[in-house]
C-alpha cells in the first residue's frame, strides 16, 4: 500500500512539478502578449464608447449583462470614468512590456487584473480571444515566463559587460502552471467540440457553410463553395473531430507534430477567412508549450548558418 502511494506521488510529482522549457515559455509569452497588446491597442480609440458611462454600457449595468449563473461577485473596475483612458494605456504598455520580458510575475499580475477589470466592465463586447487570453495570462503569473528572451537580460549584459547567468531549471510553480496552461487549451478545445455536437448543422456536416456564407463573418465571398459541397462537409467534420480529440492526441509524441501543424493551419485559416487574427494567435500561442525541450537546439543545428547564428543570438537572452 505504501509502495503504491509512493509510486502515485512520484508520478504526480513528475507530471506536475517536473522541469519545463523556459525558452518555450518565453516564446509563448511573446506571442500571447503581442497578440493581446495589439487587440488592446486597436480598441484604445474606442475606450470611451466601450468602457465609460458616456458609451454603450453604464457602469451600474455592467454586471447585469452577465447571466445570473456566471456573474462576478463584484466589479473590479475601481477607477472613475475620467481615468479609464489612462488606465487602458497602462494596460497596453504593461502588455507590451511583458512581451519584452520586463516585470516578470508582478507586471503579469497587474496586466491580468486590468485585463479582467476591462472584461467585466463590458462583457458584451468580449471576443473569444479576450476570454481565453485572460485565462492564459492568469495562469502565466505562476510561471517564470520572463526568465528567457527578455530585454532585461540584454540590458544586464550591457551593464555587466558579459552574458548574464540565465536560469537553467524551472521552479516548482512554473512546472505546475505550465501544465495548467496545457490543460486550459485542452479543455477549450474539448468543450468547443462537444458543444458543436449539440448543433444539428455540425453533426450534419454543413455548419461551415453557414459561417462562410455569412457576410458579417467571412472576409471573402465564399458563395462558390456551393459548387463544392464535399469540401464544406469534410471541413465541418474535421473541425469538431480535431477539437474533440486534440486533448487525447496531443499526448502522443508521434502524432503531436502533425496535430499541432494542423492546428496552426486551422487557426491561420480561420484568421484569414474571418479576420479573426487575435483569436488565431491566442489559440496558437500555447502550442509552443507542447513542444519538446530540444526542438530549439535541433532547429539551431540545421545546416543554414545564418539561421543558426540568428537563433544563437536570440537564445542568449
Amino acid at each position: 500500500m505504501i509502495r503504491l502511494v509512493t509510486q502515485l506521488w512520484s508520478a504526480w510529482d513528475k507530471f506536475w512539478f517536473g522541469e519545463r522549457s523556459l525558452l518555450n515559455l518565453a516564446i509563448f509569452r511573446i506571442v500571447l502578449c503581442l497578440t493581446l497588446g495589439v487587440l488592446y491597442l486597436t480598441r484604445s480609440r474606442d475606450v470611451v464608447l466601450y468602457f465609460t458611462d458616456q458609451g454603450i454600457l453604464p457602469r451600474a449595468l455592467a454586471l447585469d449583462v452577465y447571466v445570473d449563473f456566471s456573474r462576478p461577485p463584484f466589479l473590479l473596475t475601481f477607477w472613475a470614468d475620467s481615468w479609464t483612458v489612462a488606465v487602458h494605456w497602462v494596460l497596453v504598455v504593461g502588455t507590451f512590456a511583458l512581451a519584452l520580458g520586463l516585470g516578470g510575475r508582478v507586471v503579469n499580475a497587474l496586466v491580468w487584473f486590468l485585463h479582467l477589470a476591462f472584461l467585466q466592465r463590458n462583457y458584451a463586447i468580449a471576443f473569444g480571444a479576450d476570454l481565453i487570453g485572460g485565462l492564459l495570462l492568469f495562469l502565466m503569473i505562476g510561471t517564470q515566463s520572463c526568465a528567457r528572451l527578455s530585454v532585461w537580460n540584454w540590458f544586464r549584459e550591457k551593464k555587466l559587460g558579459r552574458t548574464p547567468e540565465l536560469p537553467v531549471r524551472s521552479d516548482m510553480a512554473t512546472g505546475a502552471f505550465y501544465r495548467l496552461l496545457q490543460f486550459q487549451l485542452m479543455a477549450v478545445y474539448a468543450w468547443t467540440g462537444w458543444e458543436k455536437l449539440k448543433g444539428a448543422s455540425w453533426w450534419d456536416g454543413t455548419a461551415l457553410w453557414t459561417v462562410l456564407a455569412n457576410p458579417q463573418l467571412a472576409v471573402f465571398e465564399m458563395g462558390w463553395l456551393r459548387h463544392f459541397p464535399l469540401i464544406v462537409a469534410v471541413l465541418t467534420t474535421v473541425t469538431w473531430i480535431f477539437e474533440i480529440y486534440f486533448p487525447v492526441l496531443v499526448w502522443n509524441p508521434r502524432i503531436r507534430p502533425w496535430l499541432l501543424g494542423f492546428g496552426v493551419c486551422f487557426h491561420l485559416g480561420i484568421g484569414a477567412l474571418m479576420a479573426l487574427w487575435g483569436f488565431a494567435f491566442v489559440m496558437i500561442s500555447p502550442y509552443i508549450l507542447f513542444l519538446s525541450e530540444d526542438w530549439f537546439q535541433r532547429l539551431k543545428m540545421r545546416q543554414n548558418p545564418r539561421l543558426s547564428s540568428i537563433l544563437t543570438i536570440f537564445s542568449r537572452y
Binding site: 486597436t42 453604464p58 458584451a124 471576443f127 492568469f138 477549450v188
Partner: protein
C-alpha cells in the same frame, strides 16, 4: 518546506483543474454538485464560460434596425439607424467589430434591448423623443437548399425574419443617463 509548498500547490492544481474541466458545463450535474466550491471562484476570474464558439449552430446574419422619432421642428423628423452601423457588411477592424459581438449579445435576450440598447440610442440622440427597435434576421439558405436551387443566387434564397420589436419613449430613460451618476 519544499514538501509543504508542493502539497499546497498540488491542492491548487487539483482545484484549478476541476474548475477548468467542470465549469464549461457548470449547469450540468457535476457543475451543480460542486457549485458552491467552484462557481464563485470561476465567476471571479471569468472561467465560468461555456466554450460554445460557433455552436450549437453558427448564427445567421442579423442586425438591429432602430427608427428614431424627433420633435416636429427637427430635421429630419424620423431617422433610421442600424446596430451595428455596417448592417450586414463585414467589419475587419477589430475594435469596430466589437459592436458586432455586442449586437449578437443583445440579440440573445430582449431584456438587454430594453435596458441597454434603447437607453443608449436615446443617449446618443439627445433630441430623440421615441425610438422603435426591431431585430432583423437575414437567414442564410442551407447548403441543401442552395444545391437544389442551382439556378437561383444565394441572395435570392435568403429570407428575412423579424424578431423582437418594441417602441420606447426616451423620456423614460432620462433619469438613468444622468452623467452625475457616473463615478
Amino acid at each position: 518546506m519544499r514538501i509543504v509548498a508542493k502539497t499546497l500547490l498540488s491542492i491548487f492544481v487539483f482545484y484549478q483543474s476541476m474548475c477548468i474541466w467542470l465549469l464549461p458545463n457548470a449547469l450540468g450535474f457535476l457543475g451543480r454538485y460542486f457549485e458552491t466550491a467552484l462557481v464563485p471562484y470561476g465567476n471571479l476570474i471569468s472561467l465560468n464560460t461555456p466554450w460554445n464558439l460557433f455552436s450549437p449552430d453558427p448564427a445567421n446574419t442579423m442586425y438591429f434596425s432602430a427608427v428614431l422619432h424627433f420633435n416636429e421642428n427637427h430635421e429630419p423628423p424620423v431617422l433610421e439607424t442600424f446596430f451595428p452601423p455596417e448592417k450586414v457588411q463585414l467589419v475587419t477592424d477589430s475594435s469596430a467589430r466589437r459592436l458586432l459581438y455586442a449586437m449578437r449579445y443583445l440579440f440573445m435576450d430582449p431584456r438587454r434591448i430594453d435596458v441597454l440598447l434603447a437607453p443608449w440610442l436615446c443617449r446618443s440622440y439627445p433630441l430623440a423623443t421615441e425610438v422603435s427597435i426591431r431585430q432583423v434576421i437575414n437567414k442564410i439558405p442551407t447548403l441543401d437548399k442552395v444545391l437544389i436551387s442551382k439556378d437561383r443566387s444565394i441572395a435570392d434564397l435568403r429570407e428575412t425574419d423579424e424578431g423582437y420589436a418594441q417602441m420606447y419613449s426616451c423620456a423614460n430613460f432620462e433619469t438613468s443617463h444622468d452623467p452625475g451618476a457616473s463615478r
